[in-house]
Symmetry: D2
Subunit: 266 residues, 4 copies
């Protein structure tokens, strides 16, 4: 199977700015070809690559000038990657509460709703709880909203679904983290986010939105929550996103995903 | 200068439990001698050491039996450590909002209160703002409270002071993180927490509580906030802390700390 | 049936203070005898009575001197009162969100959990939901916590149970309010708080704690939430409550309360 | 001076709905002429008038049919009204925290920022603090946001400015409430909201937005906060506001308002 992905961002830099891009596919699978070009006012911008955990590849540039910023990324990936390797510290770290996955604050709800469940049945129960109780409503949440806000609002987008799944799982003592992905089959196409949970010695993807099959998703960034996986971050200056297009497809028919089986991101 | 530290914890394990201890001094300075013993019901518990970032050394054990848990740690440190080394990803990561340092949510306040300031003057201004507006009131905050709650409550303990400093600095585009430390001179003696900020190519300690000199503090854990630095974490079971004693002293007179100079943790 | 109630409060006035007491039984039933005495440093304090809505009787005094404040209230009530009369504005007002009953914020949860229910079955469902999902844990909540905090914490005391019931009902378009009461049979004895909901032309008491029979409760204050019913409020000064005793009993056997029948406060 | 006001609302009733309108000028000044017409699908709707506190006049109708709802209100007011009369209970009630004015939660900030101030200087200081620290940004706040959210966001619209003023004043022991008003001179014209504070025996208007002169404002509703003063509330059904126009003018030149003088709503 070959997976092809593209991302096109258009922004206006209002004041000189440092940017961090998280659009490149993570290290792991074989990348047959790849290209990242960034321009400001039609002049190319040199991006430095920084390695974050789990193969995450960030691209950064400081002091971008005021003007029109255009990002074009494309990659062709010709294999599945190996299963995600877990260091001992990961199993400690991904039990900790994080900015948008306040598992400490949500522990009373999680422990009450999912009492007695562990392992794969717990994952299925949490995914079903979140998927059936939340409405998928584009624009309904704010960037500063975390899982506690989502629990009350009963609606959100993919990152909110993932945050609530992660918070519930951590509160039930299951290491859980967020992965941003390219998701063939997603409609409307966009960057996507899913939860990953560590059960029986492996990390498994959980997508409570059920909007795309998990086995063909292609990992971008991996971390505690959306704070570790924003596709574009601006520091020291102001930027406005004016347009965005994401493409992701495979050269094979998309598989059926029954949602409750254990599926790794590859 | 030689620094001697000790920590003694007494707990009751209510149901079988996994624990993560973060009491050992971080790698870096020369450790002349060190001992960690953990017992449950007078039987010794084998602890595994896990490396977290920045030299942090966690000690973990799973499935501790019900009973009385006692932790004894002591170390003698005979040198200052080297300055903290910063990887490129650290300067990106420690600008991100975190569980207890919601720099995204606090950005409007931070940018208004500290407009126009950068570098060392910004650090001094933030430290002074937090130190003069917050009251140090033991027991006034909850473990789930972050910097936004502290900003409204205008009181807290060392971790709350550190969280608010960190959140403000990140919102002002300064990488900032939390370090748990042994702090000779602290009174009453306890585990302590300070902020660290990256300015002019180095990490500098900020202690808005001004309760102990920074140059003799001894680093334990380093991370995004208290979620990465709790001295005792329990997973999969219930534990009650029933007693605690911390000791930290040096073989020299404690230095005067003028609070606004740039001082690294060594 | 005759109901006898007593309240004894001991406080220390730290700085000169204005106080509002809400300990007197509300107008309505026949009050056979009643006495309120307030002293500061053994000198009697003249209290002025102020009428709040629904027969609520507040007692206020301004500029109390520093010293030991003692409040003694007792009343014997010899009849049931008439049913609570509802003005048209009450049915509008008690649908509005209030400080501790954030029905606007809790509407997504309420409308999802109680979809399709109205009238008495809705009251029973809300009472049961709150009563079975919350733990009654003295000291677990803070005075500034409202229903949203209670929903996440899954525990609280009588006022928290009442606040969550009220918030859910308002979100489901049922006028609901809080009543502070003397509650014969409550153990341990204390001031108590219940919700009241307007269904089928009358106000009915809902006590999700099920700690005392509703039909023998004696109304003190009635309002939007605990902000309208605190037994002691201090303004312009500082006060510390150092002791409290509440007594409430009837001259008949306490009735059995099946919790789901419609019972008015009389 | 004669004041002329008009309000025109267009809505779509999605499901049968009960509505509460708060658009009529409050009782007090001489109303020379007045008209309220409400239609659904071009059929007139009979509105019942309900008296709320302080002369507030609500207009309600239940069971409105699905269709296009149009509200037209106009009034000509030919005199200033008498000063607002205060009952004893008002001075107690308007010290209480309310849904959007969480004076209990904001007390630490208020008491720190305004320590030592009372009376008119306190009112001026609070008005100035709020007016200079908040940005007036239409669309920046949500209906469920209260003063604590506004304090962190540092921006809002007129109701947010008023809520923060009210919360601060109550925390400083000054009775404070919200009034919705028609505000000649406001640009762009809209419904407006201001705080009222009780000082020296009278209620004074505080408009931290400084967007219109206070002495020509015309009171609509008066209450604890926006929960008591929404111009349109829907219960038991769904409604969408599709258009709105507000007009307010006087037959004289608008006065200059120096913002810090004590000005009542008349």
């Amino acid at each position: 199977m070959q997976r092809t992905v593209m991302a096109h961002l258009e922004c206006v830099v209002i004041t000189p700015v440092d940017i961090v891009l998280s659009v490149a596919v993570a290290g792991g699978p074989d990348i047959a070809s790849e290209s990242l070009t960034v321009t400001v006012g039609d002049r190319p911008v040199e991006m430095a690559e920084i390695a974050d955990d789990h193969g995450t590849r960030l691209h950064v540039a400081d002091g971008l000038a005021v003007g029109r910023l255009v990002v074009d990324y494309t990659a062709q990936v010709s294999s599945l990657g190996p299963p995600s390797v877990s260091r001992p510290v990961d199993l400690v770290r991904y039990l900790r509460p994080s900015r948008y996955c306040e598992s400490d604050r949500l522990a009373p709800v999680a422990r009450s709703e999912f009492a007695g469940l562990t392992g794969a049945p717990l994952l299925a129960a949490v995914s079903s709880w979140v998927g059936t109780r939340l409405g998928y409503v584009p624009g309904s949440s704010r960037p500063i909203d975390g899982a506690a806000a989502t629990l009350l609002a009963r609606q959100g987008v993919c990152r909110d679904f993932a945050h609530l799944v992660i918070a519930f799982l951590r509160a039930c003592d299951v290491p859980a983290r967020l992965a941003s992905v390219y998701a063939p089959g997603l409609s409307p196409m966009d960057f996507h986010a899913v939860a990953e949970a560590y059960v029986d010695g492996n990390w498994h993807a959980i997508d409570a939105t059920r909007l795309a099959p998990r086995s063909t998703m292609l990992r971008i960034a991996t971390g505690r929550d959306a704070a570790d996986a924003a596709f574009l971050t601006n520091n020291c200056g102001i930027i406005t996103l004016t347009g965005m297009e994401v493409v992701a497809y495979t050269d094979e028919l998309l598989p059926f995903d029954d949602a409750n089986s254990l599926v790794p991101l590859r």
